[in-house]
């Protein structure tokens, strides 16, 4: 008996996956984004193996070497070196690790807190909802980067604090989204049915309602992931995020800013890395939205 | 010469699953003063044929016809600009959903005077008196007070009246009404139909009434075209058709009417109109037809005497009692 239900639920799950993949794979650009992103993730995981040099190793005699294809370039330092003779390629590869981890943590933090607060607000209603929503309005009234800056001023500069600060500024959108979906799900028959069946509030919130509002949350999560990478880099660039020896992409641009005119590659490549990673995630996010949002599904 | 002459109009849509034939060799001839009803279930391509005439189909549609002319002008060869000079002026069309067919951002006066300014020139403001007269004509009380009203402030029936005023503003020779009463309350339905017939008689225009409601047909039209899955299955005068339906589909439609019910329960037609992917072989109606035979399942029928059927129902002696009794 149990095994039968297990297999059916398994096949329903795999059916859903297949349907999702069908709609997702319609968009070639979304698949391209996904493939590129997987590439970046692999690059981040195997950074130690792939990168030709240690990210912090300084080849003093080879400072400001241009990329290999330019005059004076060397194959050894494919994307050139910075002012201290560190290999740009290796630093960018290692930087992928920091950016991806930062993006993940920001999304995990803001989504988990946001979903929890949104569920509570939508489910409980009353004064609790009002308080939660007004707090979120307050956070939204201050431009995200400014809020993050102020928070970092309190917490002190550093990658971890920057992530916490950015996560706080992203929370309201998750709260609003979850609350809105919860409110619309609450009136549906299946919720009434499980209430009648005696399901407790926790069970209702997490087992009945939450899975049914996942689609917009996944899309929002993807979009937050890409903006989190951008904002971490922006804080790094302003000197309030990851600190100097760390090869975080925004920090790389900041530390080479003075070389911008004499050795433009030291600024150009980290920027391209950010742009491409964010672009890939956004492409994927668009595909996800089209595949998950039944309203926009192509007929 | 007829006002409107359509011969073998075919409309195909390009879709992800190949081409879909929504209208299949439809012909229609109309004179000034005619009221023709086109009947069929949803999905039978009634509106599509008329939208093709108006040039309102999306670019995915391919329109072919042996002839499509209006008032002596060939609609197939004319360019978009020439067609726009006719559309809204000599041929106009009102739609099923009055609430969504009016632009929510503009008031009544704007929307009606716009069409006057478009076809007769002059500024929108210069047509104000004409707009008031039109609103009066379609039975809107105190029209001056309604000029500045926005669509969301009007009821469904009122919106449809505004829509009609807008579409008869240029005194068209042909008015196409696409299910004009379907979205309205039953009491309002009769009023709107009455208004349409009244206007048709007063202006001497031709009226094409698209509907799925046989009762509406009986009350208004002179002639009926019955359409099924994009094909015309029968085209006849109303009284003849009601007394003596010759196509099994027409018979089935009629027997779904309360007046025609032979038993205590109404006869619904089983199944639905075939879509793009489940077209049967042979006659398109055969899976739902109670008279279907082997030939019907193998070979598409030829049209004879205006009826598209291998085995048309027999012709009865002419009596008109039945219809009149039911009206």
């Amino acid at each position: 008996m149990t095994s039968i239900t297990a297999t059916t639920s398994y096949s329903v799950r795999s059916q859903q996956w297949r349907e999702f993949w069908f709609y997702f794979s319609v968009s070639k650009t979304a698949v391209a984004g996904l493939v590129f992103l997987i590439g970046v993730v692999l690059m981040a995981i195997f950074a130690d193996v792939i990168s030709p040099h240690l990210p912090a190793e300084q080849y003093r005699e080879f400072a400001e070497i241009p990329p290999a294809w330019m005059e004076g370039g060397q194959m050894r330092f494919f994307l050139g070196t910075d002012y201290a003779g560190r290999d740009m390629l290796s630093r960018i590869i290692h930087g992928a690790r920091l950016s991806l981890i930062a993006g993940c943590i920001v999304v995990l933090m803001s989504a988990s807190i946001g979903i929890l607060l949104g569920l509570v607000a939508g489910f409980r209603g009353g004064w609790l909802e009002t308080v939660i929503m007004r707090i979120m309005d307050t956070i939204m009234a201050v431009p995200g980067l400014l809020m993050a800056l102020v928070l970092v001023a309190v917490l002190g500069p550093g990658l971890l604090n920057a992530m916490v600060a950015i996560a706080i500024t992203y929370t309201p959108s998750f709260v609003r989204l979850t609350r809105a979906s919860t409110l619309s799900e609450l009136n549906k028959d299946y919720v009434t049915a499980s209430k009648v069946a005696g399901a407790g509030p926790i069970r209702l919130m997490f087992i009945s309602i939450l899975p049914n509002c996942m689609a917009p949350l996944i899309v929002q999560g993807t979009l937050s992931f890409s903006t989190a990478i951008l904002d971490t880099a922006a804080l790094g660039f302003l000197g309030m995020g990851a600190q100097a020896p760390l090869p975080e992409w925004g920090t790389l641009i900041a530390e080479n800013r003075d070389l911008m005119l004499s050795a433009p590659w030291t600024v150009t490549f980290p920027g391209i890395a950010i742009l491409l990673a964010v672009l890939a995630i956004n492409l994927m996010g668009d595909g996800l939205r089209d595949a998950l949002d039944p309203k926009l599904k192509r007929s | 010469m007829a006002l409107l002459e359509i011969t073998n109009l075919t409309v195909e849509f390009a879709t992800a699953h190949g081409s879909l034939r929504a209208v299949d060799q439809v012909s229609l001839s109309l004179d000034v003063g005619d009221i023709v009803a086109i009947v069929g279930e949803s999905g039978s391509g009634k509106s599509v044929a008329m939208l093709a005439l108006m040039g309102l189909l999306p670019w995915t549609a391919t329109i072919t016809a042996d002839q499509m002319s209006f008032d002596g002008k060939d609609l197939l060869t004319m360019n978009a600009k020439q067609r726009r000079a006719i559309i809204g002026k000599d041929i106009s069309m009102i739609f099923q959903e009055p609430m969504t067919s009016l632009n929510p951002c503009f008031n009544v006066e704007y929307q009606i005077s716009e069409v006057l300014a478009q076809h007769f020139g002059g500024s929108r403001r210069s047509h104000k008196n004409r707009v008031i007269k039109l609103l009066e004509k379609v039975g809107i009380p105190a029209p001056e007070t309604r000029l500045k009203a926005y669509p969301h402030q009007l009821s469904g029936g009122m919106s449809q009246r505004v829509m009609i005023a807008m579409m008869i503003a240029c005194e068209p020779k042909l008015l196409i009404a696409d299910e004009p009463t379907t979205a309205l309350d039953v009491t309002i339905q009769a009023q709107i139909l009455e208004l349409l017939v009244e206007l048709q008689q007063a202006n001497g225009m031709a009226l094409v009434l698209i509907t799925h409601d046989m009762a509406v047909v009986a009350e208004t039209a002179d002639r009926v075209v019955v359409q099924y899955a994009g094909q015309q299955v029968e085209q006849r005068a109303v009284i003849e058709l009601f007394n003596n339906p010759r196509h099994p589909y027409t018979e089935a439609l009629l027997s779904a009417l309360p007046e025609y019910a032979k038993e205590k329960t109404l006869n619904a037609i089983p199944g639905v109109v075939p879509g793009q992917l489940d077209r049967p072989a042979g006659c398109l109606f055969n899976p739902r037809c109670e008279h279907a035979q082997d030939l019907c399942r193998q070979k598409p029928p030829q049209r004879s005497e205006g009826i598209l059927c291998h085995y048309p129902l027999p012709l009865k002696g002419a009596t008109t009692d039945h219809v009149e009794a039911s009206l």
Binding site: V150, G250, P270 | G88
Partner: protein, 334 residues
């Protein structure tokens, strides 16, 4: 309409208190108490510390301190800068026109290019033009704008020598600050060429700051137009025999603008955040650069005041957008 406006204003009240609470809490949350923050690196003797505590009312209970802070704020007193010793509000409003000028230009840039691009993409849906516009817009909002700014400086200022690298006006000119908007001030000044110089200085920062709003507006206009173009009333407009231009530019656009206005309103906060980066890159003497400077120099009262005032700007703009929204959408006016 008034009811609608009143409702909007009512929502702003708790947000105002929320923001003051954040600003108030900010100083408290800093490591060390406010006196130590005030004193900075110099340090302060215990006697002087107690004296200052009493003088500034810091020995009162926290809620009382908060209310006296809100009272000060409502009277326009946002504290004094630790660095310049001037009222924070005064500094803010002196620099504000520079940021406003940049932000307005960036927004105009984004709207003027973004809305037509979105309309064209929607009308030409599925064609190469559509794909091109959408790819560019996707690239636009994936852009790290601080890097984009540096890249444009490398290209236009350093390689092509078309635009200046930083500032608002060439130092050759001396323009009296009347409105604080350099374009206006230089236009009415006697200095020949000052206007041109001001314009030159504006080009790159405008593009950099306007890139993300441009991308977002183009995308949102496209999707709003696509939705509107399939509405029944667009078919009605076509059935009236109106020209395609009129159908799109009057009947469809007017409805699409209802959504797009909201999107534009939301971009203002994005713009103010972007101004922090843009002004830093181009040494633009506005609020963004000032806030960054204040954070770095630990001028926390300036940061506190700036935070409050910027949030105030966002609220005022949002309210204006709501008003505009009401004007565009007849369902709200009546």
């Amino acid at each position: 309409m008034f009811k609608f406006l009143f409702k909007r204003l009512l929502v702003l009240v708790p947000v105002f208190f929320g923001v003051t609470l954040v600003a108030f809490g900010f100083i408290r949350a800093l490591p060390g108490d406010p006196i130590e923050v005030l004193a900075g690196e110099r340090g302060v003797s215990p006697e002087r510390h107690a004296e200052l505590m009493a003088q500034l009312g810091l020995d009162e209970p926290l809620w009382q301190q908060y209310f006296s802070y809100v009272g000060d704020v409502l009277q326009g007193d946002l504290g004094t800068s630790l660095i310049t010793n001037r009222p924070v509000a005064e500094e803010f409003f002196e620099l504000f026109p520079a940021t406003a000028e940049l932000a307005i230009c960036a927004m105009l840039f984004a709207i003027i290019l973004g809305i037509p691009a979105g309309i064209i993409a929607a009308v030409k849906r599925g064609t190469l033009v559509d794909q091109g516009i959408m790819s560019l817009s996707l690239a636009g909002y994936s852009m790290p704008i601080f890097w984009w700014g540096l890249l444009l400086i490398i290209l236009f200022s350093n390689t092509l020598h078309l635009t200046p690298v930083s500032g608002r006006l060439s130092f050759l000119f001396e323009v009296e600050h009347v409105t604080g908007f350099m374009l206006i001030d230089s236009l009415f000044s006697d200095e020949e060429g000052a206007f041109k110089s001001a314009l030159h200085h504006l080009v790159l920062p405008t593009i950099v700051l306007g890139t993300i709003p441009l991308a977002v507006i183009a995308r949102q206009t496209r999707s709003a137009m696509l939705e509107v173009l399939s509405e029944d009333y667009v078919r009605t407009a076509k059935a009236k025999g109106l020209s395609p231009l009129r159908v799109i530019a009057v009947h469809a656009l007017r409805n699409a603008m209802i959504t797009v206005t909201t999107v534009i309103g939301l971009q203002v906060a994005v713009l103010l955040a972007g101004a922090i980066l843009t002004e830093t890159i181009f040494s633009w003497p506005g609020i963004g650069k000032w806030i960054i400077f204040s954070v770095f120099s630990r001028d926390y009262y300036a940061v506190q005041g700036g935070l409050l005032l910027i949030a105030g700007c966002v609220m005022v703009v949002n309210l204006t957008v709501d008003l505009l929204y009401g004007l565009i959408n007849p369902r709200i006016v009546h």
